[in-house]
């Protein structure tokens, strides 16, 4: 029996061996055949020599969350061989280099082996040892194209694109592809039970890393200053911003840059530069991860209290401390939401697709200016560093930046009274001015110390408290302005709340639960502070599951803390082992809750 366009293939390699680019081409080729594909590069915090895995899930129905169980294992790393063989589903395939025979202890009777003498095939063809090593990956790519029925033209076309400008590399790569393909056609027992065929399930979608999309969002949103410190998994965002800005933000006349990128000496400096820029009227952002947010916390308190816009991208990884720096988690919610000492809180945005990384990056710049406060975009490694199938990026040319309340010289002339922290409009947001605007009016002193409505230093008890209370009113304004949650409410008794990359396996999860007689309404939270819609959804349901990719159910904690929700009503669903959450992770915990409490399964079971 042949299964079309539905399998999980895992490549087990040694990092630094060039495998990532070959495996990336494999995935992209499938995407170009119009078949939905998801990629997860599971890599070590290391440059060369440690095990790395590259998972590709192919799914015609578009279920792109992580799925346990490997259908096809491409085992190219002797060190992890035993565990790689063990992870294959019964009936699955083991593809390996049989130049040297495998020990009998590594064999399994319930899987099918496809041995190919890759090293032996390469030896007579390439004299350069380094090339021989790199082309191992290309040879298995060629063989897989035959075994799985990937359009060979698509792959060779991709090699040509990949090595554009290094033309002397194109021919040897294509030769290596052909060696693999020809050997598979001549000697291997194909085609195998998993097959690809062209589809139109991709449509006009793109295949892009969230960090790249976020960088483009910041660029389109008008960011002119990017200050950052290298940290996995956020680095690629700052680098993408600079790369695209160098192409798209060059002044036509002078050929000079309409942006500034500073690689700072640490995260403290990075956020300081962002705050200084934004204070002086330039849109600015930094990209970091959990350890960076910890370091930036003092500055975040300053920007909260002094009311300065700033945009941070927290591409989350596994904490605490150094944790697992190259694995994914949603572990920074509480650290980001309440970063800094004293009473502080910061708006958060939760993208779940590259398209949303783009949209929310631009929105974050608007919201930070409007609310005069730091806004943190909470992405993660899974979304940030892997190419993800996404709706194409879109920009409405009629859109204008919301620069918030900034008075120019004419407006200052007309103003009766200027007080930086006066609530003139009843939304608890004052008017700010930029340095150098007016010779006589509008100058004020920005500080992290207590001040009155006219920005004058004071230790007066009433003035301090008035200010803190106004900041709370501003928080209520923020809750009205933040992006609304995405809700599918069919009037069921139970619901599920999730955010960020937990959206990836959610359709699949709900299908699985439906089959078990559990129907759930769903709400994807897109922002903190939570708007009324969030509270209404929780009120309307008897039971609400909250999905977190962290140990301590941080979103559930936020909901309980901010909404005075009865904790018994919010059931934690958690995954925090470093991979992205799978449908099975969520399905099993929800179902277990129903079973353990003998809750009635819902009636709308589809047969």
């Amino acid at each position: 029996m042949v299964t079309y366009n539905d399998f999980v293939i895992r490549f087990a390699n040694v990092n630094g061996s060039g495998s990532a680019s070959a495996n990336g081409m494999f995935a992209k080729a499938i995407f170009r055949m119009g078949v939905p594909v998801a990629v997860r590069n599971i890599f070590p915090s290391n440059i060369q020599g440690l095990p790395t895995w590259f998972d590709v899930r192919v799914n015609e129905a578009g279920h792109l969350g992580r799925r346990d169980g490997v259908d096809i294992m491409v085992a190219m790393n002797a060190e992890t061989y035993a565990e790689d063989v063990a992870s294959i589903k019964p009936g699955g395939y083991l593809f390996y280099d049989n130049t040297k025979p495998l020990g009998a202890d590594l064999m399994r009777s319930d899987i099918r082996e496809i041995g190919m003498p890759i090293a032996a095939l390469l030896q007579p063809e390439f004299t350069d040892l380094k090339q021989r090593g790199l082309f191992k990956n290309i040879v298995y790519l060629g063989a897989l194209s035959a075994l799985l029925n990937i359009d060979f033209d698509v792959i060779t076309g991709m090699v040509a694109t990949q090595y554009k400008g290094k033309d002397d590399l194109i021919q040897p790569n294509i030769h290596a592809l052909e060696i693999g393909r020809q050997y598979a056609l001549d000697y291997l027992n194909g085609p195998i039970e998993y097959q690809l065929r062209r589809s139109d399930a991709v449509g006009d979608k793109i295949f892009i890393e969230g960090n790249t999309a976020a960088a483009l969002g910041a660029l389109y949103g008008g960011a002119t200053v990017c200050a950052w410190y290298p940290i996995t998994p956020s680095t690629s965002m700052a680098e993408a911003f600079e790369r695209y800005a160098n192409g798209m933000r060059i002044d036509k006349g002078s050929r000079r840059k309409k942006f500034a990128v500073i690689q700072a000496e640490d995260e403290l400096s990075a956020i300081g530069i962002v705050i200084g820029s934004a204070w002086n009227g330039a849109r600015a952002f930094t990209a970091t991860s959990g350890p960076g947010v910890s370091l930036m916390s003092e500055f975040l308190g300053l920007a909260y209290f002094a009311e300065i816009p700033a945009v941070l991208f927290d591409i989350q990884r596994v904490g605490p401390s150094t944790g697992m720096p190259t694995r994914t988690q949603q572990g920074d919610l509480l650290a980001a939401a309440y970063a800094s000492h004293g009473d502080t809180r910061h708006p958060l945005l939760f993208p779940s697709t590259p398209r949303e990384c783009f949209d929310l990056a631009a929105d974050a710049l608007d919201l930070a200016d409007r609310l005069q406060t730091p806004v943190i975009v909470m992405s993660d490694l899974d979304l940030g560093m892997n190419p993800v199938m996404s709706e194409p990026l879109a920009w409405d040319d009629g859109r204008s930046y919301d620069r918030g309340k900034v008075l120019n010289a004419e407006e200052l002339e007309e103003a009766q009274d200027f007080g930086r922290y006066l609530d003139v409009d009843g939304d608890a947001i004052g008017y700010r001015t930029l340095p150098g605007t007016h010779p006589e009016r509008g100058a004020f002193f920005t500080r992290g110390a207590s001040r009155d409505e006219y920005a004058r230093y004071t230790e007066d008890a009433d003035a301090y408290q008035r200010n803190m209370d106004r900041l709370l009113e501003k928080w209520a304004t923020a809750a009205r302005l933040m992006p609304k949650p995405e809700i599918h409410d069919n009037g069921r008794k139970a619901g599920i709340i999730y955010y960020g990359t937990s959206a990836m396996p959610m359709d699949e999860t709900l299908h699985m639960l439906q089959a078990d007689g559990v129907g759930l309404d769903r709400m994807r939270i897109r922002a903190f502070p939570f708007g009324d819609e969030v509270w209404q959804f929780i009120r309307r349901h008897e039971l609400v599951f909250v999905v977190d990719q962290n140990r301590d159910s941080q979103m559930r904690t936020l909901l309980i803390n901010e909404g005075d929700v009865d904790p018994a009503k919010l059931v934690a669903v958690r995954y925090y082992a470093g991979l992205s959450i799978s449908a099975e992770d969520i399905h099993s915990q929800v179902l277990e809750h129903f079973k353990a409490r003998k809750l009635p399964r819902l009636t709308e079971v589809r047969s």
Binding site: M248, I262, V274, G276, F299, L393, W395, P435
Partner: protein, 351 residues
Amino acid sequence: MTFVAKPRIHHPQLPVNELGLTRRDYEGLVSTLCAGCGHDSVSAAVVQACAEMALPPHRFAKMSGIGCSSKTPSYFLDKSHGFNSVHGRMPSVATGANLANRDLFFIGVSGDGDSASIGLGQFAHIVRRRINMLYIVDNNGTYGLTKGQFSATNDRGSTSKKGVPNLYEPIDLVSMALQIGASFVARSFSGDKAQLVPLIKAGLKHHGMAFLDVISPCVAFNNHNGSTKSFDYVRGHSGPFVHADFYPPGEEITAHYDPGATEDVPMPDGSTLRLHKLNGDYDVHDRVGALETVQRYQEKGEVVTGLLYVDPDAADCHEILDTVDVPLNGLTEAELCPGSAALEQVNQSFR
């Protein structure tokens, strides 16, 4: 009462500069520092320098960190914006502010705790990046606000008020600034206005990172016998190597020294620095020589003052980054957003 505005009434015969402003227009709030604090002299020197140069008082951004020194931007130029940030982090905030608008005058005021201890890293990196600003350190060798602990610029063997000696080597910010990229480096003394005011003028007009270390004694905690940052010690152990007079474009140069000991340095905006070399053949353009001189005298417990190094042609951070001439904060949406057609091309590259 936690702030005191200065009354604006002034003597009718107070001199008026080219902008029609008197020095009162360059002042700030009444200082809340201790009576006799050296820092107040530095603030007064800033007021005098800016007023005499007739710089528009609202075209400044005053940046500071935390500490006694960092309070002083409240006490000058109250028509300009100020930013009293977090401890040791003025340099990063100043960097950002400067990136956003290259057309303002930036004055950073920091202290020896703020710049040589908690903020040493940020100090080093803003100097490396050559932000166009005047970076003043009010250097008193002590933590005033927390009542008299040694700071990192305190000399080894210098004693506390209670006679306890400092056990550690000092950090010399002037030497560091020379080493890592400042294109204008000077040291002065808060008690020597004749030297300080022209250095502030020159530093403000210098294009690039101008670092000015001002020994500014703390009258409350570090002005006793045994301290090497007291008024008496500094007066007795410091000497100017090069005196700098500053002349804006078109102004008659009135200082005349021996021809062999005079050098005129043209500044990028047409101003002139007339240097009076008080110590033989000292060369203000020799960075390594300046470093050696400063260190050699420091070894003897002596403080070299005056303009120590200047490179009027050095690039600033904006030139290094190759940013456009107009301030980044003034770019409009049309200049910043590449538009939907360009985005469609981007999309196509990801298919």
